[in-house]
Symmetry: C2
Subunit: 330 residues, 2 copies
Amino acid sequence: MSKAQPMVELWRGDRLESWHAGHAVIWGEGGAVESWGDAGTIIYPRSSCKMIQALPLVESGAADAAGLTDRQLALSCASHQGAALHVEATGRWLEGLGLGEADLRCGSHEPYDRDERNRLIRAGDAPCQLHNNCSGKHCGFLTATQHMKAGPEYVEVDHPLQRAIRQATEEVTGETVAGYGIDGCSAPNFAMSLAGLARAMQSFAAARDTGDGRQRAMARLRDAMATHPEMVAGEGRACTELMRAMGGRVAIKTGAEAVFVAMLPAQKLGIALKIADGGTRAAEAAVVALLVRLGVLEPSHPMAQKRLPGVQRNWRGIETGGLRLADGFI
Amino acid sequence: MSKAQPMVELWRGDRLESWHAGHAVIWGEGGAVESWGDAGTIIYPRSSCKMIQALPLVESGAADAAGLTDRQLALSCASHQGAALHVEATGRWLEGLGLGEADLRCGSHEPYDRDERNRLIRAGDAPCQLHNNCSGKHCGFLTATQHMKAGPEYVEVDHPLQRAIRQATEEVTGETVAGYGIDGCSAPNFAMSLAGLARAMQSFAAARDTGDGRQRAMARLRDAMATHPEMVAGEGRACTELMRAMGGRVAIKTGAEAVFVAMLPAQKLGIALKIADGGTRAAEAAVVALLVRLGVLEPSHPMAQKRLPGVQRNWRGIETGGLRLADGFI
């Protein structure tokens, strides 16, 4: 616990108000290039590992058999915000499988998308499982499950799909999984070291579509995310806005409790970071700072500016303080 | 920064996922009774000091001249959630002063109260300044300003009201203020040590309505908060639910960036705590643990159970983990 390194500070007036410590690793072809905090810390990657969880979907041939588009593959790696386009896309996906919303096992929550949230409120409708930020991943799970002719309880840890995900996870991280927890969407989430996650992201970054089956699957998922950023999160969200700002050259993904990963194909680098207290504002600022440092994100881009350390304003637009990077981090 | 002590952990499965460090002080008649982390750390108390900011309102005679009720005094110390009852009460208060919503200087934000939020969305209405969680405090500010015959820009740091608040702050904390920041509601927020805030809370706790003017004002504000908990926050919120659970015997107040204070009249104790990373979930768990330990909150009460370290469930009601107190804290 004590090895987390101060990374991001919140200042108000001329005084430090709050601060966030964490861990980060940049992984290259030869191993760790640079790290902060403890690269060996064991974390739950949460939604940041959805592209790993989607590997069996592609590698089994299920994605091709179902005729999935890159847009759907991006959605299978998404924590979307339940906007109309996400709800329509997942609804049609299930229809194509001959399944329905009730076959999902992710549960329901109010969508993060304000337009869709307001539409539901005006109509007096309750959110359904399609609104769950993980419904795209679960559509991918159902597609793979159907292809495997496996049972409907696809989130149980001993289901053939979850066993395949565990195996893929161990292969790409180079580690035996360190147990698992149940995620917000009821799927098992396999624990791993932050270094293992960074190593996996490096494999995704370096994968070529002319390589072996694993490489082709990785490159396809990575490029689907980078070129369909609107499917991976949604308007106003960090993943979508930052991937757009990087022009499809880099894929990034957030996870609950302040995990963030990035895949940089040109540099063949993978990044994984975790803020120890789960503070998303700090994870976003830290990943932006790393992407700027590595030269793939233009610091003057409005979407970078929005999350870079800088000025914070209150409800009346008055400057109150801002985020800063802590001494010793970058 | 390094002296913050681990206080609250989030576990998932059988593994620590995230953790929060912070500072806490219990202050008694003779000084600090017990502390964790660094009692001398300088913090912004944010909304946790609203009862201090309300002292000039009562002590100047403005509250009595305007015929304010205890319900209104509770609202002057509130971070309310903009529910219908809060909007009505602040609207009528301003009307009684011959003022209107445009005289407020707090800005607008979407109310936290779901019913009121949904009503606005259905009606196609925008939130107004009455919905701002600080509008009750600002009504108190306007009442005091009117009584002082001071100018309308009552949130400027050199306005007579803010100078009176600065003086009261220094008297109750026993410290010279360590500068100030601009709060979310545009009012100055004076920095102080956590120990100074705890000391102030002890004065509020020990104040008698038979004492001097300062004591009577403190007792009146404290008791107004404890006996009108619905005005201090709102349904579902920690301050309201926990004060109800303690049956009006203890007053508590949260502040942004994970500050929490408590005033325990029977024990003549004050509590102040700050989670270093600003994580509200940890501040709530920590204050509940302290109130239980001091014997004023029944740990089996549903409102305590809701925030005590324990089980956390996901969207489908499946147990995923829970909060725990860190070793060495309580």
